[in-house]
Symmetry: C2
Subunit: 189 residues, 2 copies
């Protein structure tokens, strides 16, 4: 997606060896116009998949999931990361290891909101090691629902998540793929 | 806002003494059509305030902030709750006490994304004790920016947040106010 790639090159900042900071438009400050273009692109990519619901995980996936859901005209469900007294006790759960935070956390979705007949599109802002997507897929599988696709804003192509998911046969589409970093700049596919 | 009040009465579930669960449409599963109606209503309420940016806090404020931002045609900034290696070290910070979780957490916003000239609209899904909004106001004040308004989806009118903010002169508007619970049902203003 050219408009996104251009934005990553212009406004993304590379910190250290392999951290791409896109917090000026993607995951801290949000350029909602750009989100709308991304939402339309997700619809274009998955329009034949009969999506009934979009699934994401808090926090930074929620915005793009909601904006994209307008084009699909379906609800969003976001998995919760922390044990909260306000969450239903009757939940599907999965464990996710975060390399960024070097710890395992639990993600949970109330059993009320994913059903057998659902065809889910997982949307998230980043794909690196794929652990969060695999956790969401585990939850979809527990619910007996169907994974219809995975839409990612930025895939870190030098990490293993994309390879793992594609080898599993997952219908994965990324709007931009970062292949490597050279001289403090992101090199995109 | 009638459509929201109707939805709270029909689909909200009261758990225990004072927990209103609206996770079927507001903060776990999201009814994006309803979010759009709420976004338009926020524009109607704050259209004369020359809003330059919408500020919220992760996680459940992000969706409605993004949807509303489309109508204002401004960016969203969401405060982060956890210390993250991906967040800029140069941040405004504030402490927020959560009664739900019975602990204090830190919220942070990069100094890059709130500026002196900004007129901010704070948007959040719930207002109870007002601690999260007060933390966001503290950050706006540190940045030397202007608080132009606070838009809340559901205010718990029997808790003190609304009273505190209105007495401070804050331009606070709530789309629905829960006055009390009676026989397991929410009583709305």
């Amino acid at each position: 997606m050219e408009i996104l790639k251009k934005r990553i090159i212009e406004d993304g900042r590379v910190v250290g060896k392999d951290i791409l900071k896109v917090d000026s438009f993607l995951n801290h400050q949000i350029d909602v116009r750009l989100y709308n273009e991304m939402g339309k692109e997700f619809l274009e990519l998955f329009k034949d998949e009969k999506i009934t619901k979009i699934l994401t995980v808090e926090a930074s996936g929620i915005g793009i999931a909601c904006i994209a859901a307008q084009y699909f005209d379906v609800p969003v469900v976001f998995a919760k990361k922390t044990e909260s007294s306000n969450l239903d006790s009757d939940t599907y759960e999965s464990q996710v290891y975060s390399f960024t935070r070097a710890k395992t956390y639990k993600i949970r979705v109330s059993k009320r909101y994913i059903n057998k007949g659902d065809r889910l599109l997982i949307i998230d802002d980043f794909l690196a090691n794929g652990k969060a997507v695999l956790g969401l897929m585990d939850i979809i599988s527990q619910a007996g629902a169907t994974l219809a696709g995975v839409g990612i804003v930025i895939e870190k192509g030098f990490q293993e998540g994309g390879k793992i998911l594609r080898e599993m046969g997952v219908n994965l589409k990324s709007l931009a793929v970062v292949r490597s970093f050279e001289d403090g700049r992101a090199i995109l596919d």
